[in-house]
């Protein structure tokens, strides 16, 4: 790996370092906090830094969608529910059978190590020559064209999935008069 130091390059490197570190740190933070509220906020930070990384990879539209959809909509929903459910304290790393935690660390570690190994061994060659792209790569118009021509099926199916999720959400949130009467009475 050759470090090519030019002015633009230094800037890219710096941005990459900051965004990368923020990404990793917020990821660790998400799973470490005991209060879910803070975890959610850490995740928002994670999403933001990811958006920056996407920009570095010439995926402007995706970066915008990430901020709008993920950080904007999904995380807001999360925060709503966390607020609704209320504060709860939890001891994050306790509980369950003794082998659970150890096994979890090992499994996750193993996956990570494998990915590194793969990258180091196999994909080094193939990933080193990067395609040169022009300006339209990653632009909204280009994405839109792709959605409506090459990947039309994916587009349609995604919309069906969203519909199904919406219906599911409504059903799950439904008040069943008989059952909830008892609970809401003593909740009040």
């Amino acid at each position: 790996m050759i470090l090519a130091f030019s002015a633009g390059n230094v800037l890219v490197w710096a941005v990459w370092m900051i965004a990368g570190l923020a990404c990793l740190a917020s990821g660790v933070a998400v799973i470490s906090f005991s209060n879910p509220f803070f975890s959610a906020l850490a995740l928002i930070g994670n999403l933001g830094s990811l958006a920056v990384l996407y920009l570095l990879l010439s995926a402007e539209f995706v970066a915008a969608a990430q901020v709008l959809v993920y950080a904007g909509a999904v995380m807001v929903m999360f925060l709503f529910v966390i607020a609704y459910v209320g504060p709860r304290q939890e001891t994050p790393w306790r509980g369950g059978p003794s082998w659970q935690t150890i096994g979890a660390v090992l499994a996750a570690g193993a996956i990570f190590v494998e990915i590194i190994v793969v990258l180091g061994l196999k994909a080094g060659g193939r990933l080193s020559d990067v395609h040169a792209v022009n300006g339209t790569f990653g632009s909204p118009g280009w994405i839109g064209r792709l959605f409506l021509t090459d990947h039309l099926l994916a587009f349609e199916i995604t919309s069906i999935v969203l519909l199904v999720a919406a219906v599911g959400g409504v059903i799950l949130g439904e008040h069943t008069k008989r059952r909830d009467v008892a609970t809401t009475e003593d909740a009040a």
């Binding site: 660790v28 996407y54 939890e90 080193s128 999720a165």
Partner: protein, 107 residues
């Protein structure tokens, strides 16, 4: 950027970050007991995958990776919707919000 090469670190580094995110997310799913945190960890994993997709799309100059990433985002949103619905339903029925205690499939 007209026909520009990739500046900064190589694709390998981006994929490495993606892998790390995936691992962290997996660890979170496996260790935490609060279903909300579990869902958040799932989101991290999905994002890790997305990053890898975008990185490979850039490396190959193929737009399919970005399309796929957008689809993943849509699916993630749907899944979060349903998952949160479940959490709310649990809360309404006064069930403990602890994945360890929700173990009726115990052998």
């Amino acid at each position: 950027m007209q026909g520009a090469a990739l500046l900064g670190p190589g694709i390998v580094w981006y994929v490495g970050i993606a892998g790390f995110l995936f691992g962290i997310g997996a660890l979170g799913v496996l260790v935490r007991r609060n279903p909300l945190i579990v869902l958040l960890s799932l989101e991290i994993m999905l994002n890790g995958a997305n990053l890898a997709l975008i990185a490979f799309a850039r490396s190959a100059g193929n737009g399919a990776g970005q399309i796929f990433a957008l689809a993943v985002m849509a699916v993630a949103a749907s899944e979060v919707c349903v998952g949160l619905g479940l959490v709310v339903a649990l809360h309404r029925r006064r069930l403990p919000l602890d994945v360890d205690r929700l173990s009726e499939l115990r052998g």
